[in-house]
């Protein structure tokens, strides 16, 4: 399958949505709304639920299925309020020692007037910083489009997985083609060059595994269960350290000229 075909599948409006994952993988979901700073952003959906009887915090991008839903949740493009809401839920999870499970599916953070006005950049940066230091297990699954900082803003996790037909990239292929070749029509070519499929990311060492979609909910359930089992062996401080090391050194082999690199002040 070509990269652009994957892109189109990842964006397919009939693909399962966050609400489907929550309904099929968890019970007793209690939705939490609002950033408690002045706004509710429907493009982030989240709350507390049970995963095989265990309380967890679950959240993710919400695209919606019908046109009305799409509009209400801004096609899954959060503003700063969405990222702050996500962080509020995650900090609460940390307080009550609940694992955090996030589902990533966004064309990107919203490039809008108000989003800029209220600090889109700062909201995302703050999530990246704060997530890196959480003392509970964090598991992220890219289910559809994982595009740009808008995706990463809820995906700084101990374990990051991708569904086999999901994509994860620095920007949309259209945006990439537009920036580098000044021609957004070359998106098919861009999708190929960008290396944005699950297989590519696994090879880059950016994700921990690829989830088969044949029996999608069962496969995700299995992956979350095994990841939790592994992460439960770590103490709160070890969980934080594990995540820090993961993001600090994921590209170690590419930036170190030798294994015994030492800083030299000349």
């Amino acid at each position: 399958m070509s990269a652009i075909e994957k892109v189109l599948i990842a964006r397919d409006k009939d693909r399962p949505k966050i609400t489907d994952y929550v309904d099929n993988l968890f019970t007793d979901f209690f939705e939490q709304k609002g950033d408690f700073l002045g706004k509710e952003d429907e493009s982030i959906y989240g709350g507390i639920a049970l995963f095989h009887g265990r309380p967890v915090t679950v959240l993710g991008h919400r695209k919606g299925r019908t046109v009305e839903e799409n509009m209400a949740c801004n096609f899954g493009m959060p503003g700063p309020e969405g990222y702050r809401k996500a962080l509020r839920l995650m900090k609460q999870a940390e307080k009550f020692k609940r694992p955090i499970i996030t589902f990533v599916d966004t064309p990107g953070a919203y490039p809008g007037l108000e989003a800029e006005m209220y600090g889109q950049a700062q909201a995302i940066a703050n999530n990246l910083a704060e997530m890196s230091a959480l003392k509970v297990p964090v598991i992220s699954i890219v289910t559809g489009e994982g595009s740009s900082g808008g995706a990463l803003g809820i995906a700084v996790a101990n374990k990051v997985y991708m569904l086999e037909n999901a994509i994860y990239s620095v920007l949309s292929p259209e945006g990439f083609a537009s920036i580098l070749w000044h021609d957004s029509a070359r998106r098919d070519e861009a999708a190929e060059v960008m290396k944005l499929t699950a297989k590519d990311l696994y090879e880059f060492g950016v994700i921990d595994g690829i989830i088969d979609e044949a029996d999608i909910f069962k496969a995700i359930d299995k992956q979350i269960s095994s990841a939790l089992k592994e992460l439960d062996k770590l103490s709160a401080d070890e969980l934080k350290e594990d995540r820090y090391e993961k993001f600090r050194y994921f590209d170690e082999a590419r930036v170190n000229a030798s294994s015994v690199e030492e800083m030299e002040v000349v």
Binding site: A115, A125, L128, S169, L180, D251
Partner: protein
């Protein structure tokens, strides 16, 4: 009719504007011959003769095997006397030792790839180890597209290192200069304990053109400029270039208790 005096005054004002708002687009006739760059910045900010640049030995990298990327970097290295788009080192500012990092937008718009992210992190970690304040002058077009997902991940990497540095009690100062956008604005640029900005610097997550296309309307004047950000609560102070050193000295001095008996 404009008098000769008025004309001269206008001309004078334009020069004054150039000094005060160096980021503004100027008429070609009065455009400075040489653009104020990262090296000029270091010269203006660090106490004379104190800046010692960190030298890291980075291997060449082209993870997407992107056509022309390596050649482009090689050419820019020769032109700009730097290995990538950030220059970092140890120096003194007002006799206060600190680590200073300056982004160089002449190098691929100071977009953030692995080398830039790693340089930033190592410089910050050095400051952490030596218990030194850290100052970064940001300017960037965002993520280094040519490095794909690995450039995106630099956002998480740098933010994690900033968080650790700050949690350990380090003073982290960012100075946002024109333009600071995309992946850099949405990571280490907006995490400062103290956030300064230069007048009229463009600071934002999405570029103005993308926003205009998305919302289908013209953006108001001054949108995403430093003054706009300050008005909305994201900038401590707007500081003119000629006042920058003095301001940094003052801020470092105000944190002297943190670094006493270091």
């Amino acid at each position: 009719m404009t008098s000769v005096v008025d004309k001269r005054k206008n001309k004078f004002n334009r020069y004054k504007d150039l000094r005060e708002n160096p980021t503004e687009l100027l008429e070609p006739a009065i455009k400075p011959v040489k653009e104020y760059d990262a090296f000029d910045r270091i010269k203006d900010i660090a106490d004379e003769g104190t800046f010692k640049e960190f030298e890291f030995n980075f291997p060449e990298t082209n993870p997407l095997e992107f056509e022309g990327y390596v050649e482009k970097k090689e050419a820019l290295r020769k032109e700009n006397n730097c290995h990538d788009a950030i220059i970092a080192g140890e120096c003194e500012i007002g006799k206060m030792p600190c680590v200073l990092a300056v982004m160089n937008k002449k190098f691929m718009m100071a977009s953030m790839g692995m080398e830039l992210g790693e340089t930033f992190c190592r410089a910050l970690e050095y400051a952490g180890e030596k218990r030194l304040p850290f100052i970064v002058f940001t300017a960037s077009g965002g993520a280094r597209m040519q490095e794909g997902i690995l450039s995106l991940m630099q956002m998480a990497k740098t933010s994690a290192v900033v968080k650790r540095f700050k949690d350990e009690g380090g003073l982290y100062i960012t100075v946002l200069t024109h333009p600071t956008t995309g992946g850099v604005s949405a990571s280490f640029a907006t995490l400062g304990d103290i956030t300064l900005a230069e007048p009229k610097a463009l600071i934002g997550f999405a570029g103005p053109r993308v926003i205009e296309q998305t919302i289908g309307q013209k953006l108001p004047e001054g949108f995403q400029r430093a003054e706009f950000l300050q008005e909305h609560g994201f900038v401590d102070a707007i500081v003119r270039r000629e006042d920058m050193k003095e301001m940094l000295e003052k801020i470092l001095m105000l944190h002297k208790n943190v670094y006493e008996g270091r």
